[in-house]
Symmetry: D3
Subunit: 238 residues, 6 copies
């Protein structure tokens, strides 16, 4: 029995609210149970220097947690004067995942800046961020199409993510904080709408994991992500 | 006629939502029209080194804007590696204002850390922050009283804040972004529940202002803050 | 009776020495009693990127305290690796105040960089800085006129500043360190030669202040600044 | 045919040289073909503050590339003033991997600091680092045992790592730089001597990868790591 | 003929003014011609952590140039967020030189912090700093003796410094900025009152220098420093 | 008798290995006994902004120590977020020394970036760095000549360096760590192939040194550097 009473293959309630704030070209509040992340997509003309002249677009992401989004307060990274290793790791993951969803050529020399800010954390903030950011990015692409800055839709398909793990020997889907902090293994999986893997990051927390456990976790993730993508599509009115 | 259609002495709709997030001892979403700030109050044992052994408590504040809370995206301060001058100025103001509302002796050697994070900006974020943070702080003080970490209520009274200004020659209350960016003079006023002034910060943006304009602005602020404090009291169920 | 023996409305001895150092286009040592600040104005061609192409000039300021300008030594900000919040707040105030004295259009695309470095501190360093920096800026404007980089004098009028406060219930002018550290309220006022207000920053240190006290402080400031501007004019030989 | 002429399941020549430098408790030069990493293990008394009083040891790692270990020179991170996201990500991975090889209780309140510095890079620096660092750590544990700072050997077993990928549709083992920069998918795998998985980090570089490709890569990694661990054992004289 | 009209072995006018500012235990304005440096010595109880428990004192120095002490404005190091290499090099030199003048055992666990801030630069700021800082340090030692924090005078003797160089083939003493910027060789020499060398730092700017030139420069420095030490003694009333 | 058994005028074994790593245009491992430094020279097109348009080349150097190149581990400067004063001082010295060996005009607008990374430290790392870096630079110049980016050889002659000191009253050549830490005086000398002095940096560690000691040290350095330059020539096959 999971602490939340969920079955092993059961997701938390997932809510995706578009146009959550008013200034960004894409603005999505994504909720996986009590985990709440505000994902905005900002459109900027041009691309960073290292990409200039290639006729390709750029998508990048930043991630942050509000200091008291967590059980005990974390020091504000802006006050500390630098982003921590975990933050950098997560925002690199978000950026790579979203770039996998887009045809950079069709995007042209435009940049989409994703910001994922965690308002409330209860496990799975990075996978929720990817899921919400993808919807915000779709809205930003629509903005670019409507503004005729982009001629053809650059979207290759949606991407979404979920965490899976082994808790007390049992493979489970979509861990909340309670499970996450006691998991033997924790794995984050990012997949496309078409069922391809974009990222797999599995970490043994206390015990090494076996080939079979890895298989079971991927199977859970595969099913979970299919459901999550359906939520993205509903939110987008597709 | 103001761009928003409001009368010169009319506040925007003010909403104060407590328990907005689940981890902090105090958590308030404050809205002044389209300006939305999440204010949390976190309780920590003990005080910073420079205050140790005096038997007094400490209240301090940090402020941040989500990168796309604004019309165009601002660089994330954590990524830039430092907080800007405006941020430091605002968080110093919030901290001073809240300390004016509390008897440090009665607080004992406890610290309350305030975080004000702007989710959506439309003018007046610093005054909204003070207003919301005060309510979050009251909840944190109640937590301390209930946990018997504090014996007697340290609250001296509520504090609240509002901006006033002179726009096209006319003194007006509670400027939104449109007015703020075209104001001749912009003044932020912080007052206590008992009608005393805690802070006055007035700046001539284009033209110096006169003694009479200053008087008129303070009168507007005085009335506006009285109404805002009523909203705080309603939110607190007083 | 004030600790210094001065009457409530009495300024300290004010001295303004031009050409104090030899390299800067404007170089002024300003003394308010024992407070001594070296203010230099440096002329540079062009304007910062965010102002280019508008045909307007730019004036900006930096402020610093020598580590042992104070009773006990302060850590050197260059060694700490960042400027503190108080420093940033003061230099933003100096910059805004001086920009209020100049017609940016007439200045053309030239920059004046003000440096205010406190050699010895005894209260009121920010108001002394504004007062001295204005004279240094006038010398820099004269340099620009003589060098024919500017055609018409951009000066709208002098600006000067003073602190006022309420000490043991009595409104007083031009607080020294002894008074400053025991004041109930501390207010910094910046005014133009023509009697307009540029900045008012009042802070209740222990007790909130009343509308009447605020009035009394502004009246003291108004008279004091008139005298200070006379000193500026004398120093400039006007 | 691979650019290096190797078969898909063929490792590069692996060399592990102990006592490469003279000061560190463990000092290993590890070579995977042309990739050369100097891995040192330094023993320090005590543990960081956040672990004090638990009776457990701590193992942590830092990673760096000499500026010209690569084809074109990279800016020195010490001169840039911060470690990049890739660096932080890799050193976190090395630290987690090594902690999985050790019983923290048996280590007692001792710290082992691992430094992995890349002298020459040709792909796979992070997996070479883990492989070499494990041997350096074993020497540091022997030092602790000989110095009687540790009573019982804390080593749970060796860990080693290798990269696998899909290049032009074919799963291959131990990618060099040429393959790495043209791979469809790149996966780093860390395993224990006992065949358990410690970390799996797979990234689709251009195309998403399939479940079957993931299986094939893991199988290659499993065989490769078995061989690498044999090299570690030979180097240790086991 | 030197640009200043001085003879090769002729110093600039040297002035040493004690008690230049009022807060520091030692405060000296030192002038070598147009080079003006404010040197303060601040006494603090105790020593830095790395020296604790040895019963010895510590003397350290910091150096800075006001932004417009030079011909063209230098960026403020506090604003840049770090001290440059030249600054660090100079302050390390000042600290070493002063420590050579003091018996650390007799100083006991007290710290003297030297600050050398250049108000106006015209060549030779580092040698002027050492010369002035030594006098400020003597005043700080007297303070410690009077306050009975030190029992026996820790001063081993005065130290002073001067620059020498080869300009257009001719060895000259005490270079000003004009000479410094066209010198073939520039050498800074620090000596004790008793004629011993504390530091020699010679740099070929355009041409390597010969053994004979080096000899000639040291002879000039030796005579010059003897005169400078006489100025220190006069200033101290010895 | 020296701790190493060497005669006062005897160098340690010096080895210079070219092409030590494969990517850099020049790559040299230099060994002075147990001191081992990897020196690479990287060629880049163009020059830094402050040198543009003068038709001259630029040579600059960076220096670092691997954290465990020393007896006890030093904190990694990249992790600390800045290079220390000693590091900056040394890399400035290396850069100046190498620039003295090259005709900047003949180099044209090309940059040579030197990296000196200490793999193992046993005294004299800065002088070993200069010695090895000069050879790496010669290889980079040859690369530029072969690539026809430079028409005429810019090399004016080799430079090399050695430390000398006074240990227990006796002048000695090429101090190792044991001697260095107990020396009365430590002097680093850089000379050209033609016998000219490029840099002399002498520091009294405990006792001031005399004119005669200074002479004796320079004589030792002169002989030692002649031998070291012969080693450079052998390594270069001259």
């Amino acid at each position: 029995m999971r602490p939340s009473g969920r079955a092993p293959a059961q997701l938390r309630d997932i809510r995706i609210t578009r146009q959550y704030t008013m200034h960004a070209e894409g603005s999505v509040l994504v909720e996986f149970g009590n985990t709440k992340v505000l994902c905005t997509a900002s459109v900027e003309d041009g691309v960073p220097r290292f990409m200039k002249g290639q006729g390709k677009g750029w998508i990048t992401a930043e991630y942050g947690m509000l200091p008291r989004s967590t059980h005990t307060r974390n020091q504000r990274e802006a006050a500390r004067g630098k982003q921590g290793g975990r933050t950098l790791e997560i925002q690199r993951l978000i950026g790579r995942s979203l770039r996998a969803a887009v045809d950079a050529k069709k995007l042209g020399e435009n940049t989409i800046l994703i910001d994922c800010d965690v308002l409330q954390a209860d496990g799975g903030t990075r996978t929720a961020s990817i899921t919400g950011a993808c919807v915000a990015m779709v809205d930003a692409l629509t903005f670019l199409l409507n503004a005729r800055k982009v001629k053809e839709d650059p979207l290759l398909g949606l991407v979404a993510a979920v965490s899976v793990g082994v808790v007390k020997g049992v493979p489970v889907l979509d861990l909340d904080y309670d499970e996450d902090s006691s998991a033997d293994t924790d794995m984050n999986v990012v997949m496309t709408q078409h069922g391809g893997f974009v990222e797999i990051q599995g970490t043994a927390e206390s015990e090494p994991f076996t080939f079979e456990q890895q298989q079971a976790m991927l199977a859970l993730a595969n099913d979970g992500i299919r459901d999550i993508i359906r939520q993205q599509q509903l939110a987008l009115g597709w």
